[in-house]
Symmetry: none
Subunit: 250 residues, 2 copies
């Protein structure tokens, strides 16, 4: 069992910070640094701040886009200080480390990326939506922005703590102020019936030989604990298919 | 009940580091900085690295000796990377934060100092022996020395976590032997594109007014961390819809 963990920095402006990140990573046993469009790299400032972590800088990868940086990763975490308009599953760094640890135990190889945004304005919404989880370091509200090397230090420290102490008892929390209540059992069941009848109509599902389709679909969707708006969206999607079929049949 | 927590820096050489420490403290809600014989203070470098934590610098106390800095404190922790000749009680930062938290709950007022040594050689044995507990950040053995601002960040983060966290949760119970590897980033992106194009065809999604459909769908499915089989099933479902539409149009 092996876990690859990449630290991904998006559009870092201050070269010294890249060196500070490299030092923080090496202190905590991380080695894989990916730079998305850094303003200047390599640089003397980065090497100076790395203070002996030059090997991390020497093997760092420079890419053009976040998509390239996280291609092939199975778990992608975005660090974010700000609250966003649409809530996304949010973890603190300890929960993130536990999730990485759990993933590492349930797969032969797991590939993880942790993404850090620009010094002045973090990540865009589009970049955040490429990531499965948002990780928020619990800073004070009126002075919330950590130096990027300090943020990497905290994240890397939690990963190190999880690896040396095997602490996996922190469950991910999905934020206390989600924007819709969770769907109820019967809403889920009606939705699954709707999926089933629609997929029989399209010919995807053979009622005489359903195989595992409904089971796997159910497991997938239930694992996400869908809220009521999400269930309505999925049902609206199904209704649009049925209506299309009905209108074509006239 | 009130806990005073001082961060004490002994003979700091690089002025910028004092600013980095101030920023890390303010991010995590700490305010009381004590400098024992700093090489240069105040300084422009410190203010620049403080990045808005100037109030911490402005109210910092400068003293001549560690004894003065910790006079009156009830709990005194020394940070130390090195193993010492004479073993001393050693805690990791989380244990330290728990000890501070317990002390704060069992006394009306508690006064705590956490002591950080010189950038190049830490604290002397005499200084270490003035402190009740030694705190060791679990860095890797062959690259153990953290930047002092990074070390303060980790310590302050643990204190903050102890004050804000409600640690009662269980690890995610998603099975110990999942039956398929997790989907990779590009597989997920292709699936979302497939969803989008299909829903435009059925008329559910108006490309000129997409509203939040794709964002919410993405949030739902990514939250579940889909595996490769699940992605194939969803894409098969989408293909069946497209084929149905194509066959009806003939």
């Amino acid at each position: 069992m092996h876990t690859d963990i990449k630290i991904v920095l998006v559009n870092t402006t201050h070269s010294g910070n890249i060196g500070g990140v490299a030092r923080a990573m090496k202190n905590m046993g991380l080695a894989d640094l990916v730079l998305v469009g850094p303003k200047s790299f390599p640089s003397a400032e980065a090497s100076a701040r790395a203070a002996g972590a030059d090997d991390i800088l020497a093997t760092a990868t420079v890419v053009d886009s976040l998509q390239q940086a996280i291609a092939g990763c199975q778990l992608v975490f975005a660090t974010s200080a700000r609250e966003r308009h649409i809530p996304w599953p949010i973890m603190d760094p300890r929960e993130m480390a536990a999730a990485i640890s759990v993933a590492g135990k349930t797969a032969d190889n797991s590939s993880v990326a942790i993404v850090f945004g620009r010094e002045d304005r973090g990540l865009t919404n589009e970049e955040l939506h490429l990531c499965q989880h948002h990780v928020c370091i619990p800073s004070v509200a009126n002075f919330s922005s950590l130096n990027i090397a300090a943020a990497v230090q905290v994240i890397a420290y939690e990963i190190r703590m999880a690896s040396v102490s095997d602490i996996t008892d922190q469950a991910p929390q999905w934020g206390t102020s989600w924007d819709a209540p969770l769907a109820e059992q019967h809403e889920l069941e009606l939705m699954f019936e709707h999926f089933e009848s629609t997929m029989v109509k399209t010919g995807f599902l053979d009622p005489d030989n359903p195989r595992q389709f409904m089971t796997r679909l159910r497991r997938l969707i239930m694992r996400a604990l869908p809220d009521k708006i999400e269930v309505n969206i999925l049902r609206g999607m199904l209704t649009s298919i049925t209506k299309y079929i009905a209108s074509e049949k006239k």
